[in-house]
């Protein structure tokens, strides 16, 4: 584990460095408080620090206060080294944000034991951060495909539409639905159906740029948001997405399955200032038209070409796919 020693006393620094290197730590040393703050503020900074109380530029408690102000970074476990023994001093040191203190000259075994305490705290913090990140991921992603879930992809679409309206750009919205997916589930079972959904998700992600968004909109429905899309290339990109699904059969436990996708396409620049849910109804209409026209195709929603509209919003399961 990496550790920072901040001490202006070369003797003390030398002794600490030796003790810590023997204990297996990877040691970085600085000679004043300013450099300690600089080092600990780096993204890949050591997360254990031994700070001498009295240092030029900025003292140990000053370093603790500065580091505790940085909320975004990982927790740094800081131990103050002091030859001060009065209670008031120790209280002041701990209140500056230090986790512990050690009286100089230090005893090597005590130093190592206190550092092990620090490592335990950091390990615990690491587990909490990991758990929080997992919760965040679960709250935003579809568990089967790991794509954005419906709530998030809708938010992202709303934000992207607002941005493209403000910047007079164009966002392409693609709503895709797997053709005859119900029969995949009915014939081969849901586990095979899940394999198909996962592979489709993977291919969709491969077919877009890093700043585009792909979400699972419903059972076998996927919403793709192509940001900053040139209107004259949108249909070609939609076709690429359609082809990436149909050109190669999908490997499943039931063997290779040929899967196709029908897509509705909508360009925000065609529709002016319209809310996301309204545009989604329009692109859903285009998807419905693609299904009616024989499936495995892309149909574009255009305001000047009224189509036969779906009378009321239907779920994927209700529709004839």
């Amino acid at each position: 584990m990496r550790i920072l020693i901040a001490d202006d006393d070369a003797l003390s620094k030398g002794l600490l460095e030796k003790a810590l290197a023997c204990a297996g730590y990877e040691v970085t040393t600085v000679a004043d408080g300013r450099h300690a703050v600089e080092c600990l503020s780096q993204p890949d900074a050591p997360r254990l620090a031994l700070l001498d109380w009295m240092m030029p530029e900025l003292d140990g408690p000053g370093v603790c206060r500065e580091i505790r102000k940085l909320r975004e970074q990982s927790y740094v476990y800081m131990i103050l080294l002091t030859s001060r023994e009065s209670k008031e001093d120790i209280v002041a040191g701990l209140e500056s944000g230090a986790d512990d203190y050690l009286v100089k000259p230090f005893d090597a075994e005590e130093l190592k034991a206190r550092l092990r305490t620090g490592e335990r705290i950091l390990h615990l913090e690491g587990r909490l951060v990991e758990a929080r990140e997992q919760m965040r991921f679960k709250a935003a992603h579809d568990p089967l495909t790991s794509l954005w879930n419906r709530g998030v992809i809708m938010d992202l679409l709303g934000r992207e539409l607002t941005r493209s309206q403000r910047e007079h750009g164009c966002t392409a919205v693609l709503l895709g639905d797997l053709d005859h997916f119900k029969s995949v589930n009915d014939t081969h079972g849901h586990l095979v159906g899940d394999q198909v959904l996962r592979e489709v998700a993977r291919r969709l992600l491969l077919s877009v740029r890093s700043y585009d968004f792909v979400g699972r909109y419903g059972g076998e429905e996927f919403l793709v948001v192509l940001n900053n899309c040139r209107p004259d290339s949108a249909m070609a990109r939609a076709e690429e997405i359609r082809k990436i699904i149909c050109t190669r059969p999908i490997q499943t436990d039931a063997g290779l399955l040929g899967i196709t996708m029908s897509l509705g396409l909508l360009l925000s620049s065609d529709w002016g200032r319209r809310p996301a849910d309204e545009l989604l109804r329009e692109v859903d209409g285009a998807l419905y038209a693609a299904k009616n026209a024989g499936r495995n195709r892309v149909m574009q929603a255009k305001p000047e070409e009224p189509r036969q509209r779906v009378p009321a919003p239907q779920s994927a399961a209700e529709r004839v796919r």
């Binding site: 002794l15 003790a19 030859s83 000259p105």
Partner: protein, 124 residues
């Protein structure tokens, strides 16, 4: 390490403890002693100047540094004298600083030659 002129009773440094601290690393011991040899005279002069000039704040700072250096090298008696100086200087008891400095100077007398003899013995 043996030195005919020095017995455990007269030595300022607790060599056994110091060697344990550096994990018997004689090279490191030499490095630490040479750091001390380099820095100690300047610190001592700085302390003498501060006491002579009645500069309690500076006397406190320097005696704190000296206390740390000496304690790290297990020169316990002189470290205690430096600690007393620091305490008096922080309390602003300027009238007592002269005597405390004299006591400290007595405790560090002969320290540098002692360090040098250790260095000579420790060098491979």
């Amino acid at each position: 390490m043996n030195n005919s002129d020095r017995t455990p009773e007269t030595a300022s440094v607790n060599l056994g403890e110091l060697l344990a601290r550096v994990d018997n690393d004689r090279e490191l011991l030499c490095d630490l002693l040479s750091i001390f040899k380099r820095e100690f005279p300047d610190q001592l002069t700085s302390l003498q100047t501060a006491v002579a000039g009645n500069d309690a704040a500076q006397a406190a700072r320097v005696s704190h540094t000296l206390k740390g250096m000496l304690a790290n090298l297990t020169v316990t008696k002189a470290a205690a004298s430096a600690s007393r100086l620091e305490r008096l200087a922080r309390a602003g008891e300027n009238s007592s600083l002269g005597d405390a400095l004299a006591a400290f100077e007595k405790d560090v007398q002969g320290l540098l030659p002692e360090m040098e003899s250790y260095m000579a013995e420790a060098r491979p």
